[in-house]
Symmetry: C2
Subunit: 220 residues, 2 copies
Amino acid sequence: MQTGYEPTPRTTPTRYRERMHYDRATVHQILDESLICHLGYLNAGRPVVLPTTHARLGETLYLHGSTGGGPLLAARAAPSGLPVCVTVTLVDGLVLARSAMHHSVNFRSVVVLGDARVVDEAAEKRRALAGLLDHGAPGRAADCRAANPRELAATGVLALDLVEVSAKVRTGGPVDDPEDCALPHWAGVVPLSLTAGAPIPVGDLDPATPVPGYLQKRRP
Amino acid sequence: MQTGYEPTPRTTPTRYRERMHYDRATVHQILDESLICHLGYLNAGRPVVLPTTHARLGETLYLHGSTGGGPLLAARAAPSGLPVCVTVTLVDGLVLARSAMHHSVNFRSVVVLGDARVVDEAAEKRRALAGLLDHGAPGRAADCRAANPRELAATGVLALDLVEVSAKVRTGGPVDDPEDCALPHWAGVVPLSLTAGAPIPVGDLDPATPVPGYLQKRRP
C-alpha cells in the first residue's frame, strides 16, 4: 500500500530522469496543493486540454464537470473508460542562468494516465463533490447548503484511479557551465507562489458573518 | 488584422457562452501573463498533457522543448503538423457560495487548437528562444550569453499559429439562488495571484551584481 507507483514506459522520460518521483507522498502533495488540473482527452480524434477542478480521495482522482460538457459526453460514449491524461503543475520560481541555455523554471508537476469513468452512484458522487469543495477550502463542504437532487444530477464527476502516475520536480538555482560563471549577468531564482489576498465578502452578506477559519489559514 | 478569432464548432462551448472571448487583446493578455502552458498531443493514440514554457510573438505561439522530448519527436514524425491543443490557465480566486452547487473558481484561460510545426530555421529559432527568455523576464534575452550553435541544436521549438483560439473568463462573486441568500454561511471571493518573492542570487554570484530592473518589476 505504501509503495510508490510503478514506473511504466509512458511515465519514464528520456531526459532528466533524476527529476522524476514515483512515491505517493510527493504525488499526493502536488495534487492536493494545486487548485486546478488540466484534463486531456480526445474529441473526434484530436487532443483537447481543458482546465477543471479536482480532488484526490485516497487513490482516486475526481474531476469536476457538467453533464453537458465535452469530457462528460465523451466519457458517456466510452463505457470501458475515457482515455485521459490529467496534469497538474505548480510554478515555484523563475531560474535565471548566465547562459540562455540554462534558464529554467522551478516547478512541481504530476501526470496521471488512465481511463476515466463517469461517477453515477449517488453516495460516491456526494463524497466526490464534498472532496471538491474541501480541496480549495478544507471544511467548506460541511459549511454550505448541500446539493439537492436536481443540482446533483446537473453536476458531472469523472473518476480516475491513481495507477500510472509520475511526478516531476525541479528545484534549486541555475546550473551554469563553469566557463560562464564569471560572466557579469545576474543569476539566481525569483521565487513564485500562488498567494491569497483578503477574502472579499459578497455584496449582500450580513456584515456580522465572520470569515471562516479555513479561509484565514490560506493567507500568506 | 484587428478583428478577433473566428469561432468554430470546436471553440464554441455548449455552456457558459457568455464567458467566452474571441478578441485578440483578451487572448494575448492571458497568453502573455501565464508563465507556463499545458501542451496536449497524441502518443500512440492516447492523449498526453505536458507543462512547458511558451512565448507569443505576434500571431504565433512558440513552445519550448528538447530535441529528444516526446512532443518534438512526435512533431518530427508528423511532417504536415502535429495536432495539438495548448491551454493556458490563470487562477484568480476561489468563489464561495452559500450553496455547494454555486461554488466556482475565478480564472482566465485560453485554448489554442492547431497543428504545430518544428522550428528548424536558425533565425526563427533564435527569435523564438529570445521570446521565451523575455516572456518571464522582459529584457533577459539581451542580458545573458546567447546560445551557441551546439546549444541551439539541442533545443527544440514548436510553432503554432493562432487561428482557432478562444478565451474563457470567470470573474466576480458567487451567484446564489435567491432562496439561499439568507443562509448563514460566509460567501464571497478569496483573491489569488502568482506572487514573486525577493530574487535569490546563486551562491557564487559576485555580491556587487545588481538585481536587474526587469526582475524588480515582477515584485508585488
